[in-house]
Symmetry: C2
Subunit: 316 residues, 2 copies
């Protein structure tokens, strides 16, 4: 495509959501992870600020260079602690060097993070998974549920949140499914084929003894040093640990607390799972996907959105 003829596009979160659905983004992310050889991704840079941090996440994917600049900021001025998240995604074409678009990054982050969970769940969970549990019902969770519904024939959505009214509200989004708001963590996960953890916890709360022996876990919440959702018993016992990116997970993900050499299970990358391994055959095993969120996901998703927008403008 000749990018020199188009002016820079500015997209809001609403426009991003109108262009890209979670199931469609599952396809984008699956395609990305099939071959990472044409990507570059230096480690995320963290800048500490008094009540949070800022992150610079640059990457190259094929002919796109881009960056997500985002901040997580805890507002303690009000009665209740409030987490502010800010993000922008900028993408450039590497052939022309030109800036293509500046996009609000909050929705891209939610959609691509959910899409990665969808890809991991597609390749790692039992094919006959019926019950999916979600711990934490913040802004991210709706997208995560949509991702899992798009890859497995889920009948029952189980939800847990420290504030049960938030879980009730989330449940209301999914008419046509059985939704169960649980009173305890254990109740929520005990019969779940797929468990997705979505909290900013700094204490491992999810115990292995509560889980089915063939469970697939998506550990999404831990994406910075000090964050943790899984009790040590989970990493002691699951058969497979799959990371989105080893360097990043061992710095910011669930595996920051353990060393591979201490563990008996298999560790591998999502790239290998998508491109080479065939773990779906191994239904009797339990699997853990450790997701920290990658800059390449933002850049690939941003470029996809941009190209779809240009195509729609050309055809209209």
């Amino acid at each position: 495509m000749d990018t020199t003829t188009h002016p820079v596009k500015y997209l809001t979160n609403d426009e991003v959501c109108n262009i890209l659905s979670v199931p469609e983004c599952v396809g984008v992310v699956e395609e990305l992870f099939k071959d990472l050889s044409n990507t570059q991704m230096p480690p995320k840079i963290y800048l500490d600020i008094p009540n949070g941090d800022f992150r610079a996440m640059p990457a190259v994917v094929g002919s796109t260079a881009g960056i997500k600049w985002c901040g997580v900021h805890l507002d303690e001025t009000g009665h209740r602690r409030k987490v502010n998240i800010f993000a922008k995604v900028l993408i450039n074409d590497t052939v022309s060097g030109k800036l293509l678009a500046i996009m609000d990054g909050e929705s891209i982050t939610s959609i691509r993070t959910a899409a990665v969970t969808g890809v991991a769940t597609k390749y790692l969970s039992r094919l006959d998974s019926k019950i999916a549990a979600f711990i934490g019902c913040g802004n991210q969770t709706k997208y995560q549920i949509e991702a899992i519904l798009s890859v497995r024939d889920i009948k029952t959505i189980k939800l847990y949140d420290l504030h049960s009214e938030i879980a009730e509200k989330m449940a209301a989004n999914f008419e046509g499914y059985e939704t169960i708001v649980c009173e305890t963590l254990e109740d929520c996960v005990v019969d779940a084929d797929i468990v997705t953890t979505l909290t900013p916890s700094r204490n491992g709360y999810l115990k292995y003894e509560w889980l089915l022996p063939t469970v697939h876990i998506n550990a999404v919440g831990a994406d910075a040093e000090g964050k943790q959702e899984l009790d040590g018993s989970v990493l002691d016992n699951v058969d497979w640990v799959i990371y989105d990116n080893y360097e990043q997970c061992s710095h910011s993900g669930e595996i920051q607390y353990v060393k591979y050499k201490d563990k008996k299970q298999e560790w591998n990358s999502l790239e290998n799972v998508v491109s080479k391994l065939n773990l779906k055959q191994g239904w009797i095993q339990d699997t853990l996907f450790d997701a920290t969120g990658l800059a390449i996901e933002d850049v690939a998703t941003g470029r996809y959105i941009y190209e779809k927008l240009i195509r729609s403008e050309q055809s209209s």
Copy 2:
């Protein structure tokens, strides 16, 4: 200032230039270098693309977190090689976490780079400097001349470029000064009190034997691995080497080719020169300022522009 009440500002290069002059930015940068203790600046991240590179430059300065995302791209599709430069600067307030502004970054880069040269020249060149030489007459050079004119009582501007018509054009901007377009490098620098090098050269061309014994050199062009403007004789012989940032200069600046321990001269930082040392007393010495361009300069300048814009809106 309560930043929560203002919408995000978008500024073009022209608007940036209308708000901030080079002499004013010299003041901003001087203030910045007086105390870097409230700053954070991880190393620039370079992403290679086929005909150039992209750079992510995040930093925190006081209550501002920001990033410059920029690219340098060599266009070889036309008859003549053309260097495309692209840049955006985003700044956030760290107290609210909020995005304050997205600014075109090309003019900010030119202005702040020139301003740093101005600060170094103010502290390092002879007080009675009359002749300033500039090697390379690209887009950056006009700003660099303005910076040096603002800190010393220059009578004569000497210019050299591989394409003399470009140097002639540059000279036309400075009526009221004696301007001399030189035919050789040596002619240009031989009687100059201040020499500023502004080329993308990859070979050291500036020889020490051509220079006055009390010269001050600003080496601005080398800002990436492999770039070099100074012949080895310069670094063998100058009395002082001052860097904007040691880590960055030893990776991307002129001193990437040498080791401090091999050298007899004094090496120090611009921060120390501005805040502690008083090198202006030492007129008999020659000095070299090695500039690679720092993310903190972009962030401090971006915030200054933003605050000035808000003040002007409030008073109008």
